[in-house]
């Protein structure tokens, strides 16, 4: 997994509430069993003129310069709600997005982000709207910095805004950790749990 420490990049505002994972990657764009080949389907329902076409809708933010270079997305509340499809995160990652800043996230989506090197940052909605206004004044030069080492977002006006993130999520992103390998080090504890639990709840052990 790609590590995340600190990025300074163009930020694209998409300040709609309740953006669901069907909108991030429509099911019709998930054509093969795998994690790749999904970037072209990112936001397909909004990004293209018609379903199935690749004629760009010039009004959609990620089709405009300099937002095509965006690595940070400024989003509305409950971003990534709905379906558990990790394809939404794989599509964002393949497209080039590294961090999403929103007032709140769908729980499964946020979990999928940290397992794929994308940093979900929770900030207050009014602050995100202010960041969007600052960026939109000149998006190519008014960049945002997202720093996971000191857990801050630096606005174009130079102000730094702290954010909170679970320690385990932060460590996973900073180190690019493999969660399975970490847990496998606790094999003795898992075996001990099973040994005790098998007596207490025998119906679990088919």
């Amino acid at each position: 997994m790609e590590k995340f420490t600190r990025i300074t990049a163009v930020a694209a505002p998409l300040l709609r509430i309740n953006v669901d994972t069907d909108a991030i990657i429509p099911s019709r764009e998930m054509k093969t069993v795998g994690k790749t080949g999904l970037a072209a389907g990112l936001f397909a329902g909004w990004r293209y003129q018609a379903p199935g076409s690749r004629d760009e809708n010039p009004d959609f933010v990620l089709n405009r310069e300099p937002y095509r270079q965006a690595r940070i997305l400024l989003a509305g509340a409950n971003f990534g709600c709905g379906s558990s499809r990790e394809h939404a995160v794989w599509a964002l990652q393949e497209w080039g997005m590294r961090s999403i800043i929103a007032p709140s996230f769908g729980a499964i989506f946020a979990g999928n982000c940290v397992r794929n090197g994308i940093l979900p940052v929770v900030l207050d909605n009014a602050l995100i709207e202010d960041l969007a206004r600052q960026v939109e004044a000149d998006p190519a030069s008014r960049l945002l910095t997202v720093d996971l080492v000191d857990c801050t977002v630096t606005a174009p006006d130079g102000r730094r805004h702290a954010f909170a993130i679970a320690a385990a999520d932060r460590e996973m992103l900073l180190e690019g950790l493999d969660g399975i390998a970490l847990t496998m080090k606790r094999d003795d504890e898992i075996l001990a749990f099973q040994g005790h639990d098998r007596l207490r709840r025998p119906w679990i052990y088919l």
Binding site: N18, T32, N78, R115, A166, D197, R201, W203, I204, Y205
Partner: protein, 468 residues
Amino acid sequence: MARSIIDKLWDDHLVADLGEGTSLLYIDRVFLHERTGSVALKELAAANRRVRNPEQVFCTMDHIVDTLPGRSDSTRMPGGTSFITQTREAAHAAGITLFDIGSSDQGIVHVVSPEQGIALPGVTLVCPDSHTCTLGGIGALAWGIGSTEAEHALATKTLAVRKPRSMRIDFQGRLAAGVTAKDMILALIGAHSASGGVGYAIEFAGEAVRALPVEARLTLCNMGVEFGAWTVIIAPDQAVFDYVRGRPYAPRDQVLEQAIAYWRTLPSDPGAVFDREITLDCSTLAPQVTWGTSPQHETGIDGTVPDPAGEPDTNRRQAMERALAYMALQPGTRLDQVPIQAAFIGSCTNSRLSDLRAAAAILEGRRVASGVRAICVPGSTQVKLAAEREGLDRVFRAAGFEWRESGCSMCFYAGGESFGFEERVVSSTNRNFENRQGPRTRTHLASPVTVAASAIAGRLADARALAR
């Protein structure tokens, strides 16, 4: 100290405290389906890792499989066949139990799981599917995860989880006739928004919940994710114990009695403290229907399309305006005057035998309005067979409904079947998102009886007027 049902299940599955509020929890059951389980099994095998306890892992074919009679591995979804064949190969290689196409036990994952006794009270169960919270209806601690987390659960029998805040929702009063669990959950989301439950593990409680049959509790919990909850749960009671008894993977005889004795200890202790408690009066609820593109865009069938101008919050107002443009609806329009072109009964929300019985009671002796395409997709092959034994299929067919094989079907569009461009469908499913059921398809979520009554009327309709 008084503990909630969620505290108790958390404690009983704790393998290790990882610090900072994160726990390594033991996962009793993993369920997979061909849409998102396939990639988890493949990636696991590619990493040379194996499924730790394959006897406790199950998989079904529901998302991609066709629901037309005479179906096979080929589907109408582009690339669909590869999801089916690769899931089958990976499931066999991993040694897990697969409910394959053609099996009498195949069906939608969250219908099959309690039906087979795989989901039980008090178990932890995960599935790479957001509607896994459905199983809270029988008292399981069950939640949706991504495919990478599914790999973790398969390989280690555990997941590292940060304990969410706790909430209890007291559904007060008794439902009026013709009002259902679907109406309760839509009303909750309408009142508190689609993000009202974000960050919470939620216990659904109260008189209206206790009065619900088990299948209706599954419906209520199904849309917990549409409320934004990490998961939702209902304390198991005698109705659940009776439901579980005799199911294929459920415990039997002395072990069942031992299990029931444990399950009786699970309800929240008196005095258990929740971070948030809210109430919803169910005694005055009308059947609910959505008018927009989020489940929070909903109101009573006797209501009207709201005016965004009256919404003080800018973000919500803009979302309403977008929704009304997408849905081609005007503020002030009576919902029971909105004409429909299609009606759908199915999905993990509302496709169980009790749902089909209730819809059939409305449809019996009546005909679907001309110009309305109506489809019923039983939630599992077992549900379909049971319905056919009762003659429900004949009622649906005589009314003008298509009667399908089991699967997720047209709950979502994946490039295959859809209800058509700008067509309006009343649907017993869980998501009215833009383009969810087809390009520019307009979805109105409702209960199965509301769908049945609407199919007959050719417009959104109040089933209470047709009750016999």
